[in-house]
Each structure stands twice: as C-alpha cells, then as structure tokens.
Amino acid sequence: MAATLSPPRLLPSGDSAVTVEFSRNIDDAANRRVLALDRALAAEPIPGVTEAVPTYRSLLVHYDPVQIDFDKLSEKILALAKRPVPPTTKVRRWRIPVVYGGEHGIDLEDVAQTLNTTPDEIVARHVAGDYRVAMIGFTPGWSYLSGLADSLHMPRRQNPRLLTPAGTISIGGVQTGVQCLAGPSGWHLLGRTAVRTYQLHREPIFLLEPGDNVTFTSVDAKTFAEQDRAAEAGEFIAEQIAL
C-alpha cells in the first residue's frame, strides 16, 4: 500500500526530542511502522539517540543535541523509516487471567446494556480477542492494546474517574487496556487481573513490551484472590505461551 510507505512527519518536541509521526489516528498499519522503526533504531543505533518511546501512531526519539542536531538526525530517521516493514519474528504471546464483572468490573453491566447484550456476551467477546501491545505509557506498565472487536467499541466515559484500581482491565474507544497502578481513567472497567505489568524487585520489572501479543482468560473471584496474593509475593501470573 503506497499510503503506508509515505514518509513520517518529523515534529520537533523541543531541542532534545523529535516525534516521528506515521499517522494522526489510531491506525494499526501506522503502529506496525512505529514498532518497526523502534526495532530498527535498537538494531542500528544512531549515535546521540538516548531513548525511543513508541506510541500508537508515532515514535518519540530522545537525543542529545550536543552529539547530533535535528537536521542530521531527521535524515537518518527518514532513511530508516523508508525501509519496508519487515515481518515480525519472535513475537511473545501472553495469556492474562481476568476476573470480570462484579466489584472487580463495575462497568460490565452498563457496557452490556449500552451494547444491547448480556454481560456474559461482553466477556465472551473480550476473551475471544487477539490483542497486540500498541504502546505502554502514561504511568508505569499501563499497556494500551489494539485489536478490540468492533462490537466492543464505545465512547469513553463523559466524566473520567479519578481513581481506578490497580490491575484494571478496561475498554475505551477502539482500545482495551491493562492498567498496572491505581490511577485515573475515563475507560469502562470490565474486570481486574492479578498480573503486574510493573513490579519492582522482580526480574523483569516490566512484563510486557510494545509489540507483544496478549489474550485474556476469565477466572473466578477466588482464583483472582489467590493469584493476587501470589503476584504480590513476586510470582508470575501471566502465562507466556510458546508459539
């Protein structure tokens, strides 16, 4: 597709970072190009680049302007971005257990009502999904997943909640997410997982990487409570599925 091979826009983000924008919208093809450029930068580092931060539609590249200036960096980035997106190899796949509904997913009933179906059907649609980590951002471990079924798309809440629990699994717009730390959210809360995508004093501290594949399985509240205790002690709860 010619459109996907158009050069990204290079948007200055101050004197020490550049936003490499592939699309203005949530766009799966753009996200694949973001992740491909991220991998290319990791494989062939540009001297002076200090850090790259993938998001849905752009890659934020931090750099040291003492080592490389905006124009030279832009040239090098554009050259890397021109390459066709290579097929991804070695994709990791995770299965994340979720307790849906009730006190753990206070919006499940409302979501079902809004979408004219039953809570069980919402859960069935959510666990049927095959998701990809499009980006991790905002707070540690907050993983934004693409691949939500069209039948689960719905606008975010009018009034964001100021505090939602750690481990919340939610949907908002065309996305679903795994939230690690308690915090504000404008999404609809379907359930919780005991999986910690960010946990200090565990190796690795961050469980998911941008580009990883994720599926969900439904567990009951008792299992969640057991898994939560085990996770608190540093155990892994997410299963990595061999391909």
Partner: protein
C-alpha cells in the same frame, strides 16, 4: 554512620538527582531535579559528580542536623535565609555542620526550589541507576516518597576540604524560550501569536508533574483530543479549557492533548524557579538557536568546576550576597497555603 537527620521539612521536598531515563517506553518517567543547573552547582561545590543525589528543598523552610560526624553541604537554587548554629550560609556556597549542629533554611524567596548537596552524596539503593523520588512508581531511596521530619539521609563524613562559593551566570528574567511543536498545527496563527504576545503566570496549583499557566484562552482548531503521543519535559500541552500546562519531570510519559510548543532545555530550570503569580513571557526561537543554547548549557555544566572560588574573598560580602536577587514576598510556585497537586487526570488527556 554519618547522616543528615531531617528535623523538619515542608511538602514538595525530595531526594533528586539526574533522574532515570531509559524506561519511558514502559511508562516510567525519568523524574530528576527541577533545576538541573542548581543541582549540578551544589554538587560541584562539595566535589561530587554533577548529578549526584541531593535534597531538592521545596518552598518551605527545613532543618537538617548532622549526626555521627561532621557533614559538608552546599546550598544553591532559589535564595533563602540559611544558617548553621547562627552562622549565616550564603547562597551558592558550601558549609560544614559539626556533629550535632543544625542547618536551618527559611522560606524560598523569589523562587521555588533550593538544592542541598551533601559531600559524598546521599547513600541509597539506586533503581534504574537513580535515587530520585517518583512516589507514584514507588521509586526513590532512601525513601520512595517526599521527605518527612525524622527521615535520615546516610552520607560520608566531611573531608575537611576548604569551603567554596560558585559564580553562576545570572538567571535573569528574559522570556522563556520555546520551539513550536509538535502540534502547533492544531492552533491558528493568531493563537500562536497570542501565546507569545501575552503575559503568563504560573498557577499555585502546580507541582513536579506540571505547571499550570494562567493567561488568555488558547483555542484549538480541531478540538482538544489527539491520539496520545509521547511527552518531554517542557511540553506545553493545551487541554480543553485552553489554559496550558507545562509538563515537568514527574509528567506522564504520554498525553492526549495538543502540544503547542516545547520549552527549550536550557530554560527549563529557569521556568521551574518562576514563582506563582509573577508575570513572564515566552519567546519562540528556531531549532538552530534552541540547539545552540542546549550546547552552551551543556558546556556550562561541564565547566562548573572552573567557576569555584575560594570563600575568603567574599567574606565581607556575605550579607550582600545573602540579599541578592531577593524578590520581596513573591509567592512560590508551590505556595504554602494554596499548594495542590496537579491531578493525573489533568495530564492524562482523553486516552
């Protein structure tokens, strides 16, 4: 063990260093000092590496007592009254606390943050290479939270090196320089002109995550929602109410509001020190100028040791130094009576 014991301290005071870059792709923001030049100058005064962990002291007073031996410290950043057992400590100098002596710091005058560096640094357990406090992420050492009375900062015993002062270029009150973008195309030319032609004030509802600005309403061309993208220190994001927020070192790593401009890195510390309620302006500069300033700033940081002076030569001027650059009763950006944390929700944007 030698330590500095915190006898009293106000909110918005924490251990900070150069921060922990490298994990923003996992949503972990680097944190680190609000005024990097002041941190580096304080560390240079006591012979530390420039971005060694030190105490970032908020706008309120604080008291530190040396225990288990003498402790050598240095104080930089916003001016404030300071004395050790009645002996005045001038801004931008090092000083020694004998075992049991107390360093008393007054309120910030005309700024927000001071830096108290300790010879030998704060001893703690680094995570991702940093001791900087990021309470939300549970990070920071010796305490993963802002400092409180009773906290103890382990350090090394004072070396007995002679005290120094450091000559820093005057910060001045020139406009804060920005480069346009990344989303200045979400704003009309008149709105961009309004942004650089207007006087702005920092709201008292500001903190290490972000400084809210008060001034004219900046209207968006296409609404205030964009698909989240990455943020940097100094991102000037414009939420739905049209009042910009400058993202500071404890920002979220991504945000969903258009960013009209970005403060140049050389001016971030100067912005961090502008007290709430004092008018200031922005000036747009070219990328070439911004990067030239970044290189000059890096050179300034690199050559700080050349700016050290023997302290004897200013003995007679201590009082004058003490009162230099004092801006009356300016309210700090994180003022005592009105201090509120910025809500994460304000930074989040719609995603």
């Amino acid at each position: 063990m030698t330590k500095l014991v915190i006898a009293s301290i106000g909110p918005a005071s924490s251990v900070q260093d150069g921060g922990r870059p490298g994990a923003q792709r996992y949503g972990l923001v680097p944190s680190g000092a609000m005024d990097r030049l002041a941190l580096a100058a304080a560390n240079t005064l006591v012979g530390n590496e420039p971005f060694t962990a030190a105490v970032e002291v908020g706008p309120f007073g604080a008291k530190f007592t040396a225990r288990g031996g003498a402790v050598r410290v240095a104080l930089t950043g916003t001016p404030r009254n300071a004395d050790i057992a009645g002996r005045a400590v001038a801004p931008d100098t090092s000083a020694r606390l004998a075992d049991g002596e107390t360093l008393t710091l007054g309120f910030a005058r005309g700024g927000s943050f001071s830096y108290l560096a300790i010879e030998g640094g704060v001893i703690g357990e680094p995570m991702f290479g940093s001791l900087a406090v990021n309470a939300r992420a549970g990070l920071g050492s010796p305490y993963p939270r802002p400092l409180q009375a009773g906290d103890e900062l382990p350090t090394k015993a004072a070396s007995g090196a002679p005290e120094r002062r450091i000559e820093l270029p005057a910060a001045g009150d020139a406009p804060i320089r920005v480069v346009w973008g990344p989303q200045d195309d979400e704003f009309a030319d008149e709105t961009k002109k309004l942004f650089v032609d207007s006087e702005w004030k920092i709201s008292a509802t500001s903190d290490r995550m972000g400084y809210r600005l008060e001034g004219p309403i900046l209207k968006h061309l296409h609404g205030h929602n964009i698909v989240s993208d990455g943020t940097v220190n100094g991102s000037l994001q414009v939420p739905g109410n049209g009042q910009p927020i400058v993202l500071m070192p404890d920002r979220g790593t991504s945000g969903g509001y258009p960013k009209i401009a970005t403060v140049i890195s050389a001016d971030l510390g100067r912005l961090a020190q502008i007290p709430a309620g004092r008018g200031f302006r922005f000036r747009a500069v070219s990328m070439a100028e911004a990067q030239a300033e970044a290189r000059k700033f890096a050179e300034l940081l690199r050559t700080l040791p050349e700016r050290l002076r023997a302290i004897e030569s200013v003995d007679l001027n201590v009082d004058a130094l003490h009162d230099a650059n004092v801006a009356g009763h300016a309210v700090s950006a994180v003022d005592a009576g009105t201090w509120h944390a910025v809500s994460l929700a304000d930074i989040a944007g719609p995603d």
